[in-house]
Amino acid sequence: MKVERKCKIVELNRLDPVTFWMVLEVGKMVERDGLRGGQFLHIKCGGGQLLRRPISVAYAGWDEPEDLATLIFEVRGEGTAWLSRRKVGDELDVIGPLGNGFDASQPGRYLLVGGGIGIPPLMQYGECMEWPRTAVLGFRTKDKAFPAITSRFQDHCEQTYICTDDGTLGRHGFVDAQVRDILEQDSNYTAVLTCGPRSMLKSVATAAAEFGVPCQVSMEERMGCGVGACLVCAITMKDGTVKHVCKDGPVFAAQEVDWNA
């Protein structure tokens, strides 16, 4: 069941000038509608913006008096800038839950691979998935590796590898090299779950395929309605069909995506 409701901001922290951590009261969206990490909320932003902004859910949990959803977002344009200027106590007009989220229902071991602002949608899986998991987190530079986020993985995953593009923290280089090294040693993973820039998703998907590990990718595309009616957020699949990120995704089986489209 999808609902439109006013959601109160109960927490808003600035991690750096462009990255924000927001916690919303979302009614019974978790308990009743099954809201969870990797799905998204479609949020109306003021300041003359007609379109809502789809913001990924990092963490969603039952709570009293209302369930809580944690959103970690980057200011990318006017809509998210407006969102970042809200205050605790303000109400937002929210549609949710939207999208599918990752599928970690199958027992086994999981490899979580996130890049930059693509890491938050994996946070709930890193923290409280039922099965053992390893995390690979990639950042541009050390300053972007916020402990508030990385600790959630480090405290709960069997192992957490950090990579930075500039080598200021952890391994110097992109996450796919780390993923290859891990799978080379031990490819006995149930699935790779990954979220980040498209080029990263493609290289992680390629690595996973080389070692025969199923891979789920969380895709991004400019959205309109967010519910599957307007058909703007289209991605092309290998079989030549078109799917829509808001309704069929944002998580897709990597081998079904046409990475060259």
């Binding site: 439109e4 307007c230 289209a234």
Partner: protein, 306 residues
Amino acid sequence: MPDVNMQVDLAGVTLKNPVVVASGTFGFGREYSQFYSLGELGGICAKGLTLHPRMGNPSPRIAETPMGILNSVGLENPGVDAFIAEGLPFLRKFDTKVIANISGNTPEEYGIMCEKLSDAGVDMIEVNISCPNVKAGGLAYGTRPELAAEVTETAKKHAGNVPVMVKLSPNVTDITEIARAVEGAGADALSLINTIRGMRIDINTRRPVLRMNTGGLSGPAVLPVAVRMVWEVFQAVRLPILGMGGVSRGEDAAQLMLAGASAVAVGTALFADPFAPLAVRDGLAEIAQRQGLSAVSELTGGVRPW
């Protein structure tokens, strides 16, 4: 609900209220039916259909502009047969009028689709001759009076008893010229306006935001253009008009009706608020009541020009 008769007539089709949802913004109704009963709506213009399935254009297909959006979906749809098999039976569960919207590459294709849809039993067929986002057909038919007339004639010939409404493009020098041509060819109603061609450029990458470079502008930015064109067409022809373009409040709908529309469609406003069509309906009812009207249809054509 105020004590105003909200029922309107559109080419012999009775709408329980004058608020319809615009083609391409509402899919085949399934998604928004999760928010409210589709029976609340006067009618539903279903997503544009073609004879064969279409994948549409590459992404990005949408860009935000001042008080508007540009889109270039490119008529992605499962084809008319899939709509009849799956979309229509679902829409038929609700007490609302179903308006199928069709685009063809040739007049013959329009004819074939009209026959199929007429047999399947839709309430009305909206003939799209104004899609700015496809190469073949689409806009080409909507900008040349003789082609518009040809398509209309073919559609009428194959639509049986189902009324044919032709959707006009604003991307013309004189919209009344096309309106007259379509009226002469036997159309039962007109809908206007489709989107206005536009473009947005990312100044840093110097790339157009839309992958197809240009797209169709909709949203509040186009409302005054829609009001003006409905007013011009209302004076030029005797056909009933479904007015659309930037409607997000009751007042916007009232303006279009005063300009000459018998009913209005809500489109882009849905993306910000799934409940927008209901808000427009209630706002319209309130305006009619405040003005002491017994029926909302009394607004149609009521503008007092200087």
